[in-house]
């Protein structure tokens, strides 16, 4: 996917208030990310 670098640079805040750079999730391990529609 041509936009994986773009996605990897995104920093999101977690429910625990910690910031996560998405690219860090797959820097040395595989990553599974699931996008949900909404909270219902």
């Amino acid at each position: 996917m041509e936009r994986i670098e773009e996605l990897g640079a995104v920093v999101l805040r977690g429910a625990d208030d910690r910031e996560v750079r998405l690219g860090d999730l797959w820097s040395d391990r595989p990553a599974v990310l699931v996008w949900v529609r909404h909270y219902g």
Binding site: M1, R3, I4, E5, E6, L7, G8, V10, L12, R13, G14, A15, D16, D17, V20, L22, G23, L25, W26, S27, D28, R29, P30, A31, V32, L33, V34, W35, V36, R37, H38, Y39
Partner: protein, 130 residues
């Protein structure tokens, strides 16, 4: 996915869920469903756009309007406020998806939901990790 989280972790994967809305909503969501993985908040839906995730259209919109309007919010609220009001900072027509990435950024699986019920099977996620 919650119930099979350990299978994903046993294959060495970092697992995370990304959702719209507000951080407090994500926290409630994580606690309510006892999710053992991080729930990340993407209020402006930057990652949804980057991954090319879709929004409902056509019959899917009709179904969601009916569900949101009649079953969840109730007819009285519909009459008072109109149909399909999304909860704060959410888009009820937004669809989900999934991504499996190998170390170093090699994409192994991309799933972009085509409709409301189109969820990626956990077996597919596990297969992409094999």
């Amino acid at each position: 996915m919650r119930d099979r989280h350990q299978e994903l972790v046993s294959r060495g994967a970092n697992v995370a869920v990304i959702a719209t809305g507000l951080p407090a909503m994500a926290k409630d969501f994580q606690e309510q469903y006892r999710l053992p993985f991080p729930v990340l908040v993407d209020t402006p839906r930057v990652t949804y756009a980057a991954l090319g995730l879709k929004r409902l259209s056509g019959r899917g919109v009709t179904w969601v309007l009916i569900r949101e309007s009649l079953l969840v919010r109730g007819l009285v609220k519909v009459l008072r406020f109109g149909v399909g009001r999304p909860k704060k900072k959410q888009d009820i027509f937004q669809l989900g998806g999934a991504l499996v990435v190998a170390p170093g950024g090699v994409v192994k699986l991309v799933h972009r939901a085509d409709e409301y019920t189109d969820n990626v099977p956990v077996d597919a996620l596990l297969g992409a990790l094999a």
